[in-house]
């Protein structure tokens, strides 16, 4: 990674470094253990919009741990117009509670937009019947702030390597937070469709389309700032894990 890139994408750099530390964990185990200490870094989305403002956004997760207990890091954000406009990171303890479900608790920090906000997190992540991947969480912040997020994804195999992934995501907030442009209730909803080709399991470029819309006071705050309350983006990106 060249320094220029690090300058331009500071948060991505931090995230990648954190994840690199994870991946450097040696998988040391002998005959005695079935449950070695492992780490996985998954960059679900790292994509550039094809529109004129050329927004770069990312969504990544990494875990370090054992079969049933893991330290989990999640991050997502957006880089646009020469600066990071949106970035959050979560550090969670993840514990398996059912064959397909993990209970996750920990902290979330919204680094951007400023001022930053901190939250306590209680979430559930796993695979629902019919193979829907679910990630849902409740957040409690300072000054009575509360929030909720829900996302779901489905993998449709067109061939063994060509995979279509519809995805939805929504966020709710308990109260207005005009400083960061968030209104109470359903604040935003996004739907995406990505078509990736797994050159190998770990490495898959994709193309996709994202539609997102802001609602309620959040939409008002956005309009006040001269932004659109909904947008459609065509993206190219990369999914990778190790």
């Amino acid at each position: 990674m060249n320094t220029n890139l690090i300058n331009r994408y500071p948060f991505i750099a931090i995230v990648l470094l954190t994840l690199a530390i994870f991946s450097s964990v040696d998988t040391a185990f002998g005959a005695e253990t079935d449950d070695p200490l492992l780490a996985k870094v998954m960059i679900d989305e790292f994509e550039n919009s094809l529109s004129t403002d050329s927004t770069t956004s990312w969504g990544a997760q990494g875990w370090l741990g054992y079969d049933l207990n893991k330290l989990w890091i999640k991050t997502e954000g957006e880089y646009s117009g020469g600066e990071v406009v949106d970035a959050e990171i979560q550090a969670l303890y993840s514990r398996a509670i059912a064959p397909y479900w993990d209970l996750q608790m920990g902290l979330r920090r919204d680094l951007k937009p400023s001022p930053s906000r901190d939250w306590a997190v209680l979430g559930i992540q796993g695979l629902a019947p019919y193979f829907f991947e679910i990630d849902a969480a409740l957040y409690v912040g300072k000054e009575g702030r509360t929030a909720m997020s829900f996302s779901s994804e489905y993998e449709l195999l067109i061939t063994q390597k060509l995979i279509l992934t519809p995805e939805i995501e929504m966020n709710f907030y308990g109260q207005n937070d005009p400083e960061v442009g968030i209104g109470s209730g359903l604040s935003d909803f996004g739907a995406g469709l990505r078509l990736r080709y797994e050159i190998v399991r770990e490495f898959a470029p994709y193309i996709g389309v994202n539609w997102s819309k802001k609602f309620g006071n959040t939409a008002d705050y956005a309009r006040d700032e001269g932004e659109e309350d909904s947008e459609t983006q065509f993206v190219v990106g990369l999914r990778a894990w190790f």
Binding site: A31, D35, A98, T159, K161, R201, W241
Partner: protein
């Protein structure tokens, strides 16, 4: 010999040359001694055949060394762990009744071990680190010393870490003290294995990160459209619904596939192709050994009937078949009698049909056999989830495959011809299994011993019970009405009789050649459930992994029945060390003895064990990457 099938004795016409303790450097695809001699072939033809065989060591004293060695099976140089510089290691030829000494020098920089698979011996000679002994430290030599009390085809392999995957295995052939009841003119060991250029630790880590990493046979949109056009939308939806609700794949046959594996026969890739010679009219004995780490094979020789004469080294009443499945660690000896000069293909396809290996049995080394195409991919059926399919009605399916629903299933008076299952791991569940129909388990319910257990030889008549340790995030499925694994040829082979007129060996076909030694009824029954969570890639017995499990205690001299219930959709070859697993195939007088028993998905199978070996023994699934969790220590205590 008391059996009606006793065969007359005949001398073996051809024996391997008794090669001395060879320390020759083994180069892949190059020199190694051929397992036959005395046939008048030209020098050049013989030279061509020289690369194909196994080095044989025989006698009473054996020096074996464990080393790292660079090998190249795929075009890439990779470090292997090997015994005496070759893959497979040397074929060890022992004689029943003799005492053997094996000095094993470990030149690796990690602990190692050799386990003599299927050999009945004192516990401390069994070679399982942490159970039988400490293991062999780097630079150390361990001396194994024991008397050989059996004959037949066996093998050896490392029991340390994942060394077996990187090349540490070899064949053992033990000649009988008395005359061999099996008549043959010529013999070959046919050792099947799987090779990967990937480090086994890396394979295991990948499976933990994405359990279907090696599976490129998942359902696609194309399949879906095909199914809809064949069966209609509603039927397709119904057929898929159960799998989708359960978050399981009916294409989940093997964890590790031909995507990374190159399948070998006697250390030869399919590109090289092992060759064995015959002269027409000869009876050729083929000693099949599955020494793969993770691969179950289906074996046939198009154009030749195979007469199975031994299973796991033990003579059985001959069975004529066209095809057999060989689980990891099993051995089968077959006799073939090619009557015309030809090149026959010994074809071994992996259970998931992602690859194969082959060799040829040929009258002329210049002849190339016709390699048949692999059979279609097996797809798991509902029965593989342990559901009873008799008169099944998809509309009335009762099951529970979710992870978080409130469940209270009343099974009283339940029609067991409808299917039931529970694939969840939590939630409140009450299952009353009373009145369960065991008719589907191929047992004669009238035959009950004084202890209330099913009669010896006929298998379990006990209820299938899923105990509380089977519920949790570590277990994704429980078979509610497991079938008998006895008459089932296994997934991917079930229709071969109908489709191809190929008779496939089943365990129900196997009868011991000699009468059952211990005719006692079992005094108790131990029901063990093979469990796992496929997507988390966790494996266990009764939901408890080895690290957390108490040993299984047996009393010296007792006769027990072990019933294995497979609560997963994978096929598990279960191996008990130190004692025989006497498989109950329906004939109490001729119970066959095995060391490794395949347990079909969603089914159950029973065997008897006479606890005649004091000490601590290993008991585990022989799929290398299941073994760390699906493992028990068996402790045989003095009464």
């Amino acid at each position: 010999m008391a059996s009606k099938n006793t065969l007359s004795n005949i001398q073996k016409l051809v024996l391997e040359p008794q090669s001395s303790l060879s320390r020759r450097r083994f180069v892949m695809g190059a020199a190694s001694a051929m397992m036959l001699a005395s046939l008048p072939f030209t020098q050049s033809v013989l030279a061509a055949s020289m690369r194909q065989g196994l080095t044989t060591l025989s006698g009473k004293l054996f020096d074996l060394s464990i080393d790292y060695q660079t090998v190249n099976f795929t075009g890439t140089d990779v470090r292997a762990t090997v015994v005496n510089q070759s893959i497979p290691g040397p074929l060890l030829r022992w004689k029943e009744g003799e005492t053997v000494t094996l000095r094993v020098k470990n030149n690796l920089d990690v602990f190692s071990s050799i386990h003599w698979h299927g050999i009945i011996l004192p516990a401390k000679m069994d070679g399982v680190p942490g159970i039988s002994f400490e293991g062999i430290a780097p630079g150390e030599t361990f001396e194994y010393h024991f008397s050989v009390e059996q004959s037949g085809t066996y093998w050896y392999h490392s029991h340390s870490g994942f060394q077996e995957q990187t090349g540490m295995y070899g064949a053992i052939v033990i000649d009988p003290k008395d005359s061999d009841p099996v008549v043959y003119d010529r013999e070959y060991v046919v050792m099947l294995s799987d090779w990967s250029d990937e480090e086994p630790e890396s394979i295991y880590a990948k499976l933990k990160k994405q359990s279907d990493y090696y599976n490129f046979r998942e359902r696609t949109l194309v399949d879906l459209f095909d199914d809809i056009s064949d069966n209609g939308l509603v039927n397709t939806w119904n057929a898929r619904a159960m799998w989708n609700k359960g978050r399981m794949s009916d294409r989940d046959i093997s964890d590790v596939t031909g995507y990374t594996y190159t399948y070998l026969m006697n250390g030869n890739t399919p590109e090289k192709g092992w060759q064995g010679l015959f002269r027409k009219g000869e009876r050729v004995r083929l000693r099949f050994i599955n020494s793969a780490a993770m691969s179950i094979f289906d074996v046939r020789i198009p154009g030749l009937k195979m007469t199975v004469v031994a299973s796991d080294g033990q003579n059985i009443q001959p069975v004529s078949v066209d095809e057999f499945r060989i689980g990891v660690a099993e051995t089968f000896d077959v006799i073939v009698e090619p009557e015309v000069d030809n090149a026959y293909c010994i074809f071994a396809q992996s259970i998931d049909r992602t690859g194969f290996t082959y060799g040829s049995l040929t009258s002329d080394l210049a002849l190339k056999p016709l390699i048949p195409p692999m059979d279609p991919v097996a797809v798991l059926a509902h029965r593989d989830m342990g559901m009873n399919m008799k008169g099944m009605d998809h509309g009335s399916m009762q099951m529970d495959m979710s992870g978080n629903d409130d469940k209270a299933m009343d099974m009283k008076g339940m029609d067991h011809s409808a299917m039931q299952m529970d694939m969840s791991g939590n939630g409140d569940k009450t299952m009353n299994m009373k009145g369960m129909d065991h008719g589907s388990m191929q047992m004669d319910m009238n035959k009950v011993s004084a202890t209330g257990l099913g009669l010896a030889g006929y298998g379990s008549n006990n209820e299938i019970k899923h105990i509380s340790s089977e519920f949790g995030p570590q277990v994704d499925m429980r078979a509610m009405s497991p079938r008998s694994g006895l008459t089932d040829p296994g997934i991917g082979l079930r229709d071969h009789q109908i489709l191809y007129q190929r008779k496939v060996l089943t365990y129900a076909d196997i009868r011991g050649l000699t009468p059952t030694r211990d005719k006692r009824q079992p005094s108790r029954e131990i029901q063990l459930h093979l469990t796992g969570n496929m997507s988390r890639y966790m494996w266990s017995v009764n939901g408890i992994k080895f690290a957390d499990a108490a040993p299984l205690e047996l009393e010296f001299g007792e006769r027990v029945r072990i019933t294995l219930v497979n609560d997963t959709m994978m096929t598990h070859p279960m191996h008990l060390h130190g004692m025989w697993s006497e498989l109950e195939t329906g004939d109490p007088d001729f119970i066959p003895r095995k060391h490794t028993v395949i347990v079909q998905p969603g089914s159950s199978i029973s065997y008897l064990v006479t606890a005649d070996a004091l000490g601590s023994w290993a008991y585990h699934c022989h799929l290398l990457f299941h073994m760390p969790g699906m493992f028990r220590r068996v402790q045989v205590n003095n009464a």
